[in-house]
């Protein structure tokens, strides 16, 4: 049955949202270049020969991830899929070939079935066609998903942002492909995330919220695609919700043995004043649990369209990761020291 859209959006034809948004990215950022045919965002000025290149990609709707993290110190290119839909192997092969500076390319993939399969086909095709040395790191940090060899496994969420920053800095300073790949794996292994949603989100082509969430309930363990979480609970105060983010993350990994990098992330529809309030609640709990937050980010970095809610990502870092975190970065979504 056809239904009329019920959620207001700043769009023209829902089918043109991605193409038209990429035109805006190109207009706003002369330091980036957009290949509209393949839907790839590149740096306008490629990095120098002999350096490892990083590409990532995924469904759109998570902005600034990934296109907003293209630039010196982070990604070399990002492949954009339709909203919440993985990009396709031909895009990834094109991006891989263009950014390769002779030192190999790292694919950064979030653990979603579609993303993993498309990047897998792209890796097979790129190796067969152009002989580029492609390595892959798959992030899988969402503790809301039970880990099992019989399922798709944990989703890749917030740690992807931290990984693109840290590993991007390593590639920028000239670390070779083996070192970059190994660092990426260590960052992926040390990250844990948990998210909650106050509302659903609305995919432009659907026109109405992906799931129904009663006014007085929150979705606990939500992902970044409007997929429902593991269970629902009554809406409580921020201090209780902070506990629902912090407890499962701390229960899953030891964050007391070294410096921790924290990301308190907004899902897209929650104002910064609430995100900072939540961060205050989160740090109180972390401090009492003996976790030392060395660096943090608070804001909308890996979003789910217009969903209201937040996620917490903690990364058990080491001194090298903190040093690389502090290195200069210049992208639309993250910029310091440059």
């Amino acid at each position: 049955m056809l239904r009329e859209p019920v959620v207001k959006k700043l769009i023209n034809d829902p089918a043109d949202v991605l193409a038209e948004s990429l035109r805006g990215v190109e207009a706003a950022h002369p330091e980036l270049r957009v290949d509209h045919e393949h839907r790839i965002v590149y740096r306008a000025r490629a990095k120098s020969d002999g350096k490892v290149a990083l590409i990532s990609g995924g469904g759109s709707g998570h902005e600034p991830l990934h296109g907003g993290f293209v630039g010196p110190g982070m990604l070399d290119a990002a492949c954009a899929g339709e909203v919440f839909t993985s990009p396709t192997p031909d895009q990834m092969v094109e991006a891989t070939t263009v950014v390769d500076r002779g030192a190999g390319v790292l694919h950064i993939v979030k653990n979603y079935t579609g993303d993993v399969m498309n990047f897998e086909m792209a890796g097979e095709m790129a190796a067969a066609d152009s002989g580029v040395d492609v390595r892959t790191v798959v992030t899988r940090d969402d503790v809301a998903v039970e880990d099992s060899t019989y399922t798709a496994g944990r989703r890749g969420v917030g740690v992807t942002v931290l990984l693109e920053k840290i590993v991007g800095a390593a590639a920028e300073e000239g670390q070779d492909l083996d070192a970059v790949e190994s660092l990426a794996q260590r960052v992926s292994d040390g990250g844990r995330s948990m998210g909650i949603a106050l509302t659903s989100c609305t995919v432009p082509s659907a026109g109405r919220p992906t799931f129904d969430l009663p006014e007085n309930e929150i979705e606990v363990g939500v992902g970044i695609h409007g997929e429902p979480g593991r269970h629902r609970e009554a809406l409580t105060g921020a201090s209780e919700i902070a506990r629902q983010l912090v407890d499962p993350v701390l229960a899953d990994h030891d964050f007391t043995t070294g410096p921790t990098i924290a990301l308190l992330n907004g899902m897209g529809g929650t104002p910064l004043i609430e995100l900072y309030l939540m961060y205050g609640e989160v740090t109180r709990l972390l401090t009492s649990a003996g976790v030392e937050v060395a660096r943090c980010l608070v804001g909308n970095y890996i979003t789910s369209l217009d969903m209201a809610g937040a996620s917490l990502t903690l990364l058990a870092a080491d001194e090298e990761m903190v040093r690389l975190w502090d290195a200069p970065v210049s992208t639309p979504g993250l910029r310091w020291g440059a």
């Binding site: 396709t88 079935t113 579609g114 399969m117 897998e120 086909m121 798709a152 082509s205 659907a206």
Partner: protein
């Protein structure tokens, strides 16, 4: 009675599948909204529109293998998500199995569908009972194999395959998903029909309709 699949019937199959995903686009998307991310209907209609533009073109590939290969590549590059590589792999493997066969008799059609279904299952690392497309395709291939073994002929065999696919689709409803995005829901995925099994059933039904 038709005993081999013609090029015109292959084209009719693809057209019927395109029509089915258009007609049931919102239904597929609603099934996906319940346990996935609400894009299955949209993505498949976009992919099959691109496929039919290729199939209807003047320079469309004129052998079964070349046509199915072009369809597979087109689906991989236009559908995205998990469905793109899965259906893409189905058609690429079916193309390889068709090889340079002059006529696709019942045995050849069975070989094609079996290769496609097995390739798809391998790409998704799924087996029957995981609540995926495989739950419709595997019993469909088995039903066709049984029919071919009995000497039933292609139309009857494909109708049996379509019925088996539909049965497999219905059987996904009570299952807990073990692959794909629905698996993140655990117990909560129970009670919903798998959207991939629903579209895969349409694929088999479209083939049965094309040779009926």
């Amino acid at each position: 009675m038709t005993q081999s699949l013609t090029q015109a019937q292959l084209v009719a199959w693809l057209g019927a599948f395109r029509d089915a995903v258009h007609e049931h686009r919102d239904h597929l998307t609603e099934l996906d909204a319940a346990i996935g991310d609400a894009d299955h209907g949209t993505n498949l209609t976009r992919g099959m529109d691109a496929v039919m533009a290729l199939v209807d073109a003047d320079d469309a590939p004129d052998t079964a293998a070349s046509l199915l290969k072009a369809v597979g590549m087109k689906l991989v590059s236009t559908v995205g998500g998990a469905s793109g590589p899965l259906y893409g792999t189905f058609f690429l493997r079916a193309a390889a199995a068709a090889g340079d066969a002059e006529t696709l008799d019942a045995e050849a059609v069975l070989g094609m569908l079996r290769a496609g279904a097995e390739g798809l299952a391998a790409r998704g690392k799924a087996t029957v009972g995981d609540k995926t497309m495989v739950d419709a395709l595997t019993p469909a291939v088995q039903a066709l194999a049984d029919a071919v073994g009995r000497g039933d002929g292609l139309p009857a065999g494909l109708r049996a395959a379509a019925d088996a696919a539909a049965e497999g689709r219905e059987a996904t409803t009570p299952l807990e998903a073990r692959k794909g995005r629905a698996s993140y829901l655990g117990e909560r995925s129970k009670g919903h029909t798998d959207p991939g099994a629903a579209s895969a059933t349409m694929l088999v039904e479209a083939l049965a309709d094309a040779v009926a």
